[in-house]
Symmetry: C2
Subunit: 528 residues, 2 copies
């Protein structure tokens, strides 16, 4: 059958396929939409223990008067561009007395959040590259003059420190040439409440700023196509910007970066000279759902045909990990993600995500008239579903447990619901019972909470989904967010990710999904 055929020939056919897929991705390279944005105000920073990350930006004057202000050595200028954007800065400057006897030197710090404006390199404690911090030191040899900074920034705020200047420096204009493949905000549906509208717009802004020449995870940090983020972005894109060509470009980019045994990578770079080493098997298992949902939304059967074998192959590869006692083997150097939480026992979730993939493959097979394949997927599905129920389900509470310590987590219940291991009634019960127990691992980040929204809808508990949206994503809004953050725990306003709070991405694709549910709020409940 198709999937075995693919498997057998990957070694010989893979290299040529990868080249072809990269060419197809390149052919879909999008044109960015540019929009020039000016600062709307000058700011100062205020320490505030109840503000997000402890810092608040306070407007001091309109930016329209900027060209009347003079700046000297040691001065710092804080600008607010009104909302988060992604783009390129051009500074037009002159000297008050006209005489440029030496170069000027500026420190430039682009920031998504006010806290980042206080960044000091010597205090950086991050485990990821310090180069992610949007800090630059630039020199300008000739004034009057304009300088366009060559790198792209994701920010709402801009700080400029005057390190050296031959005289009183005047910024005639600071232009933010913003870019996106969808450089606009669609209107929020009329039937939403004011808060919901704000959440909707913030989600759209988040997605807009992640839509560059690929769907990025975060335009400040990573700036990269991740399969897990793409799946969620494609869902929201389908009901908002509907840029399906960009989704297809991303599918080709991921496919072009398959491993030598045909596993789809967790992420991919756009430049063909850069290959990823990052593989997350539970991300690869999302590919059948991505392909299916994209194919249906765009009405493109051709791409489903083209990638059906690769989608099947992801599930086949995952079989190597599965053991009949609901544990994983041969996990080797792979990163099993599910969620950021280091304490999370992931095995049950992984099994459920595999089952989720089999269900999607069965539907794909059906759409593509491969009924034999469909039957095989469903046979497999039935086999492994039985094992999960037998091995992982607490017979008394109906809650799914995970790992040798039989850990109870929200993630296990969510994926139990989404995979169909739990039916709607079992799911409602497990999600409710779980919360009453001590030491449960709750989901605390937008990626996993998206799947909780999905699970509520599958269980027929749409109102719980909307409550969670208003509470959790609304909580970011109440803390000043104008794009949704990579991490957010309402119980902690000073998140540290990868060792340094300045590494947190404040515009992160996987957080934009409330739009999906809010867009559909006016429709029949079954579509979410």
């Amino acid at each position: 059958m198709e999937m075995n055929h693919f498997n057998q020939n990957w070694e010989s056919e893979g290299p040529a396929l990868r080249v072809k897929w990269h060419e197809k991705a390149d052919a879909l390279f999008p044109e960015l939409q540019h929009k020039s944005v000016q600062a709307d105000s000058l700011l100062e920073l205020i320490d505030d223990p109840v503000a997000w990350q402890g810092v608040r930006a306070v407007r001091t004057e309109e930016a329209s008067g900027l060209s009347l202000r003079e700046w000297k050595k040691g001065d710092s200028l804080f600008l607010d561009f009104g909302e988060h954007h992604v783009g390129y800065f051009t500074f037009s400057m002159h000297l008050a007395d006209g005489c440029c006897g030496s170069p000027a030197a500026l420190r430039v710090l682009a920031a998504e959040l006010p806290f980042e404006l206080a960044y000091k390199a010597e205090n950086f404690r991050g485990g990821l590259s310090q180069a992610w911090i949007q800090e630059e030191f630039i020199k300008i040899d000739v004034l009057p003059g304009s300088i366009r900074l060559p790198r792209r920034y994701a920010c709402r705020y801009l700080r400029i420190d005057v390190i050296a200047t031959p005289g009183a420096l005047i910024f005639d204009q600071i232009e933010f040439d913003t870019v996106s493949t969808a450089n606009y905000l669609p209107p929020a549906p009329e039937y939403l409440s004011a808060l919901e509208k704000e959440i909707y717009t913030t989600g759209c802004r988040t997605l807009r700023d992640c839509m560059q020449t690929c769907f990025e995870d975060g335009p400040k940090r990573d700036r990269r196509l991740w399969l897990g983020d793409l799946y969620l972005e494609a869902k929201v894109n389908a009901v908002t910007y509907r840029n399906f060509r960009l989704v297809e470009r991303c599918i080709y980019l991921l496919a072009a970066n398959c491993s030598e045994n045909g596993m789809l990578p967790a992420c991919a770079f756009e430049h063909s000279g850069m290959r990823t080493r990052c593989f997350i098997p539970d991300y690869s298992l999302l590919f059948p759902a991505l392909l299916l949902e994209h194919g249906k939304a765009f009405g493109n059967r051709e791409i489903m045909e083209e990638f059906y074998p690769l989608a099947v192959h992801q599930a086949n590869l995952f079989q190597d990990f599965l053991q009949e006692d609901c544990t994983l083997r041969n996990t080797g150097s792979y990163w099993f993600f599910v969620d950021h939480d280091a304490k999370l026992e992931k095995e049950t979730s992984e099994f459920c995500i595999y089952l989720f993939a089999l269900r999607n493959l069965a539907e794909l097979a059906h759409l593509l008239n491969r009924e034999d394949d469909k039957a095989e997927f469903l046979g497999n599905y039935s086999h492994w579903r039985g094992i999960v129920r037998r091995e992982a389900m607490d017979p008394d509470t109906g809650i799914l447990l995970s790992g040798k310590d039989r850990q109870i987590s929200e993630a296990s219940q969510i994926w139990g619901v989404l995979s169909g291991v739990l039916d709607a009634g079992e799911g409602r019960r497990a999600l409710a019972e779980m919360k009453k127990l001590p030491d449960v691992i709750r989901s605390r980040n937008p990626y996993q909470l998206h799947y909780l929204l999905e699970a509520y809808c599958v269980c027929g508990q749409e109102e719980k989904a909307y409550d969670l949206i208003r509470d959790y994503w609304g909580g970011m809004i109440r803390l000043g967010a104008d794009t949704f953050w990579e991490v957010f725990d309402p119980d902690g306003i000073a998140p540290v990710l990868y060792g340094d709070p300045c590494l947190v991405s404040a515009c992160h694709a996987w957080s934009c999904t409330p739009c999906l549910f809010l867009q559909k709020k006016g429709s029949a409940p079954e579509i979410c």
Copy 2:
């Protein structure tokens, strides 16, 4: 007469003349010669109390192995390009493991001297712009890749600090695209000794690296056309590179930047949007000599005709300062330079430089068949020479004194000789007697010592000139110079200029003049 005519019409004719002169300067914009240079070795820095500025660079390995070395976060790489150059850097890099998951961040420090390689921004104490320090912070988003730094550097050494990198970083190539309008070194005359040859080559290298799109004073700091430096550069250029078009471009640039009353500026910027505010009357007085010597060397009578009125005008303007008691009046906001020494009493030197200008104007007038003008210049000359001898010369020793404290300085004797206030015999005596006295202000910098070389030659003491060249400029060579420095005092190896030792220019036009004397060493003595 011509000079009065010019004076009367400057206000009405000046603006149009300035525009015309700038157009002529632009028409002479030169093509730079490019030459690609590779590093020849890797270095380490050694503190050494007897080295220039206390730091020595020690070769550790050949740079040919650079592409085999891997660099990680926190590493520092020191390169030696073998000799001082001016140009642009291109870094070609890749990662050992090929996967570029984040940007790389580098600190780059280009240095003329080993000491500068230890520069730390937080220790900067300079009174001039910190932006002169050739320090950059760059980020590279995509690896493998090449990045060409946009700014020009003057250096022999390059330090690269790896601030952040996604993996082990490999420099495949670091190319130095060097530029000059005369990007080569002429062979030293055969009749010179080994040391003299080295001095000659070092002088040529200094001039080469200052010959950019104008004659710059120092390609690291200032990077600008100064009239005082140009005069000396034009002299050396006439016997080495003979790029007379570049001299004429500089004459037009200076003329295009005249003040509203027609005074030539001390310096000029190449960009027409940048005007200088810096006027040094004793530099302006060098213009007649510059015009005369250039016109004779290039055989261009036309430019002498064109600028004769402006040359005359400089002397006319200076008359406003002169008083019959050999002191200056109305000095206002002008900077009277002569030499860097803050203790130097300059009045006698200034009078002598005025007389030097009158002698040059008389010769110009004669060459241009303006015998009436010549007679007037010589009349003036005779009048003011008498005043200087009467007011400033010590009747017992024949030494020229200056200022109300009757200060004895080498500068006064030098300009006394060059102006003809002292004849050859008087000059020999004054220069010799002066040295025997206590508290004499000696000349301690290459600019003023050039004029001492000239004075020795005028006095018929060529051997003293060659001794001084071997001793003073040879002293720099013995301390490792491969271009001649802006300041050098053999008694102090750690010069601080403008508040910070890193601001000292190590390739400075006004220090290149030994070439002039060494080139002529084989000829008859009277030509120097």
